[in-house]
């Protein structure tokens, strides 16, 4: 008999976690002025009618084409109380609540607050930690096998005495350092572990509603080496009949391993044994202390080889580039010329802050740099291991997938809305401290898919037709080809030209036609219907130089208003309408949509390159500014008052061969 519900009540009662602050959380988004004076880069068609641009033979231009015409929104990385750390921190919400919340229903949080999303999500991956799945439940229940271990007994006594928070922190610390005693480790072949996995699959089956809401089967493989984070979320394309056949992979030997090569072997075995289909998404390279994207050798000293690079890209088509524990697209030390690189980075240390960050670690931690490294490795080994697309997700441990600044429920239960959450020391270790306000209200996964089903969205992930946002739901299209023209951008539906003359985000540029001097990119974006206007669209290019080194350049390609690029090569800021005291802003600056066709002015046909689009919104209040306003408290020192939400598309690659 599964014991999750007993865990709930006991945890609550023992740790006295039941704070019942019921300030109603407002999921209502302030209606904003839509008066927009700014002029954008999209010129209006001269006569308003472009009948010649339409090439379709069917009345519905999408019929028979198989193009995705809609973007679906989801979170691929959510924890419930089943994760041992989330449970220990006081999360009493389970799978059912997590799904209900994501579907748009109102739920009561672990701290007794009412919460609801402004809009439902289209898909969700509940990714509880596979290691010690079910252990915490049994610890709370005082199971004899755990009581037989001296540490288990001691922790049980401390739980009973109301010391739950510290027990949780100790468990995480021990887990990070590989110090959980064998007597307390729950291996995948144990009964409680299997029971929990069955529950997870059962719940996904119950809530999966093809066409309306997709509930993926999934879990998190929590690889840690001395506190250095190499976590991956594993997602199944399959239904429960396959998902139930094997239990998840863990990182704890002998049945598990912290080495990604062993995870890939497990994935291979799963597919062979069940005929199923799985992929993995790594996250938080920023907490890996230099081991997430190795250039030459893995964390254990083993050199990258053909097996590593082919498997990595075979199993890991996406990277989770932005989430609560930091935005990982770029870092100012790696991209000193990019004035938007300094954005919600976490660069204090590794996951448990046992070892401080040094600047030489950064190159193996950030998404853009990994994309660049991938070109280098491809030149050396023939395969690009880091040819990944991008998504964002929350990694929330509250069972609540919240990423919007005005509706943010924090990293774990101790950081649900309260007047003190911003000032708490969230994590402390020899490397330093992360304070509550540093949490990032981010991110979301956007998928251009043909339907809202497990297969359609999974397939969009595999072909990388996805993008990340830091919480807003802005729509972005990005196509690459050799002959896009302004006319394509002006056609009624630029996507037709996009798919017929080029490739969408995540693809490879087609072979260069003779006579084509440089690739062209069509990019356009429409703001979140309930959100802020757009500041600009940028194209980020990375390439491998003839000298074997990598380079990057950020191009402003479309922007709002009457601005021009200055002598320093920079576009002036869009302005800022944020009223900090009242946590408000207006859409009186920026543009509701932007788009252009851009040709790479610095193209060298002999150099490997990638291109991705970054769309930046006008400034809006950061979650900490909403907290200050709603609780009537000061904004903590160091917390930015406003933020510029953004989207990162999957790249399009160019290969000279």
């Amino acid at each position: 008999m599964p014991k999750i519900d007993s865990m709930k009540s006991i945890t609550r009662s023992i740790a006295q976690w039941k704070s019942i602050a019921r300030w109603g959380v407002i999921a209502v988004v302030v209606l904003l002025s839509t008066a927009v004076e700014a002029s954008a880069q999209l010129p209006p068609p001269p006569d308003g009618v472009l009948s010649s641009a339409y090439q379709g033979t069917q009345y519905s231009p999408y019929a028979g084409r198989g193009f995705p015409s809609r973007v679906y929104w989801g979170d691929t990385h959510l924890h419930t109380g089943l994760s041992f750390d989330a449970g220990a921190f006081g999360n009493t919400l389970g799978l059912e609540e997590a799904y209900r919340f994501a579907r748009g229903e109102e739920v009561t949080t672990s701290t007794g607050q009412l919460a609801r999303l402004s809009r439902p999500l289209d898909f969700l991956v509940i990714a509880d930690h596979s290691d010690n799945m079910g252990m915490f439940l049994d610890l709370v229940a005082g199971k004899p096998n755990l009581m037989a271990d001296p540490l288990g007994k001691e922790m049980y006594e401390r739980l009973k005495a109301g010391d739950g928070v510290n027990v949780a922190l100790d468990l995480i610390r021990m887990f990070s350092q590989g110090g959980i005693p064998p007597g307390m480790t729950y291996a995948p072949d144990s009964k409680p572990f299997k029971d929990v996995w069955q529950r997870i699959v059962d719940a996904a089956e119950a809530f999966n509603d093809p066409g309306v809401f997709t509930a993926f089967i999934g879990y998190e493989w929590t690889s840690l080496v001395q506190g250095n984070n190499m976590h991956r979320v594993v997602i199944y394309r399959d239904d429960g009949d396959k998902g139930r056949q094997m239990v998840p992979y863990t990182m704890t030997p002998p049945l598990g391993s912290p080495n990604p090569r062993d995870l890939w072997r497990w994935m291979e075995r799963y597919e062979e044994q069940t005929g199923g289909d799985v992929l993995a998404i790594a996250h938080n390279g920023n907490l890996s202390n230099g081991i997430m994207f190795p250039l030459e050798a893995q964390y254990d000293g083993r050199r990258l080889d053909a097996e590593y690079v082919t498997n990595r890209i075979k199993w890991e088509p996406l990277y989770e580039v932005t989430q609560i524990k930091g935005d990982g697209e770029a870092h100012p030390l790696l991209s000193p010329d990019d004035e938007f690189a300094d954005y919600e980075n976490w660069d204090v240390g590794n996951l448990d802050l046992s070892v401080a960050k040094s600047s030489n670690m950064l190159a193996a931690e950030y998404g853009r740099e990994a994309l660049k490294r991938g070109l280098q490795i491809e030149a050396a080994l023939g395969t690009n291991p880091y040819k990944f697309g991008l998504i964002g997700s929350t990694d929330s441990h509250t069972a609540l997938a919240t990423a919007q600044e005005d509706n943010f429920f924090g990293k774990h239960t101790g950081y649900e809305p309260s007047p003190t959450r911003m000032d708490h020391d969230m994590m402390t270790g020899p490397a330093g401290t992360v304070t509550g306000w540093m949490s990032v209200a981010s991110g979301l996964a956007a998928a251009w898919a043909t339907d809202n089903t497990r297969t359609a969205i999974f397939d969009a992930m595999e072909r990388k037709e996805t993008y990340a946002t830091t919480g807003s739901r802005l729509a972005v299209r990005f196509f690459g080809g050799w002959e896009f023209t302004e006319q394509d951008m002006n056609s009624r539906q630029p996507a037709f030209a996009g798919y017929t003359k080029g490739v969408p985000m995540g693809g490879d540029l087609p072979a260069r036609p003779s006579g084509a001097s440089a690739p062209t990119f069509m990019v356009y974006s429409l703001r979140d219907a309930q959100g802020a206007n757009l500041d600009r669209i940028q194209i980020v290019k990375g390439w491998l130089g003839d000298d074997g080194r990598t380079y990057e350049q950020v191009y402003d390609v479309a922007w709002s208003g009457d601005r021009s690029i200055g002598s320093d090569g920079k576009l002036p800021p869009v302005g800022n309408t944020v009223d900090v005291a009242n946590a408000n802003w207006t859409n009186t600056i920026g543009a509701s949509e932007l788009g252009t066709v851009w040709t790479d002015p610095d193209f060298d046909p002999d150099q490997r390159a990638f291109y991705y689009a970054r769309v930046i919104e006008i400034p809006t209040p950061r979650w900490s500014t909403y907290d200050a306003f709603r609780f009537g408290i000061p904004i903590p020192d160091g917390a930015p008052t406003s933020t510029q939400e953004r989207a990162y598309t999957s790249p399009i690659w160019y290969n000279p061969n």
Binding site: S6, I14, K160, A529, S592
Partner: protein, 289 residues
């Protein structure tokens, strides 16, 4: 699936486990035979102190009410545990609880199995929760307002006249460039809201069917629109939402039974609370002030 849905029934396990945990924890309460619960200022202050130690701050009023409710619940369940003699020895407690709870669980699962009539009744009472969403087919032609709002309106109105004269014009070929298609078939209400926003959706649903109208405003600009077909939202038949109703009803009954069990126990006690000096009393459910 049903197996999963029944699992909330293990709430009873939770209660049992609380008996176990609390019986050991509380050494300061009155004996098992007493039916009086007296909460002294000392108790209240200790609760406050415990909260402060954990959170480094005093509780809010709601949190404090939660602490008090929790204490009360613990106290009641603790005494029941004592009355049952569950406090003698860990092994005995564990076995006894298990027997008791297995008994309870088995019993409860049977009585919670809803009949079709129960499901129908639950559906009728909560028809709104299970409504079949409206399904909308429509066409829209977009006009961006960025460069010139007045001009956009003029262009939209002129296009509207054209469309009325030539209703067979293909809407995918006209208007300004736009992110989403012109023609949408069988779109669910939530998707309409998600893609086009509430402003557009609410106006669209009011348009006459089969007739080009507008301009309709959205967060993005202006649209000339035609509602092609509207299948209004409607209450569901049980067969359409059977699994969801079943899941929700079992879950609801479990929560209610959980609560009833506790309230039944609580009602056997007289509770008096002597508030610490200077503290505003808070009301607790099931406790007469």
């Amino acid at each position: 699936m049903r197996k999963l849905l029944r699992e909330p029934l293990v709430h009873f396990l939770a209660l049992g486990a609380v008996l176990f945990g609390i019986g050991i924890l509380r050494g300061d309460a009155a004996g098992p035979t007493s039916d009086r619960i007296d909460i002294t200022p000392g108790v209240t202050e200790r609760l406050l102190e415990g909260f402060r130690r954990t959170w480094q701050r005093p509780p809010t009023e709601d949190e404090f009410r939660g602490l008090m409710e929790d204490y009360l619940k613990e106290e009641v369940l603790y005494r029941e545990a004592l009355a049952m003699g569950l406090d003698r020895n860990d092994q005995i407690i564990r076995r006894r609880m298990r027997q008791k709870l297995e008994f309870l669980t088995a019993d409860v699962v049977e009585s919670f199995e809803p009949t079709e009539e129960d499901l129908q009744a639950h559906l009728d009472t909560n028809a709104d929760l299970y409504r079949q969403e409206a399904v909308i087919s429509f066409s829209q032609v977009y006009f961006q307002e960025r460069s010139d709002v007045a001009n956009a309106r003029a262009r939209a109105l002129s296009m509207l006249q054209d469309l009325k004269r030539n209703p067979h014009t293909d809407p995918e070929t006209i208007g300004d460039p736009f992110m989403f298609p012109a023609v949408h078939r069988d779109m669910r209400e939530r998707d309409l809201l998600g893609v086009f926003g509430e402003e557009f959706a609410s106006q669209l649903l009011e348009l006459p069917v089969g007739e080009w109208s507008g301009p309709v405003t959205s967060a993005f600009g202006l649209h000339v629109a035609r509602l092609d077909a509207l299948e209004s939202g409607r209450p569901s038949e049980l067969a359409e939402v059977h699994d969801a109703v079943y899941r929700d009803l079992v879950s609801k009954r479990t929560r209610e039974a959980d609560q009833r069990y506790f309230e039944g126990l609580l009602s056997q006690y007289t509770v008096t609370i002597e508030w610490p000096e200077g503290m505003e009393p808070v009301s607790l459910p099931g406790v007469v002030p």
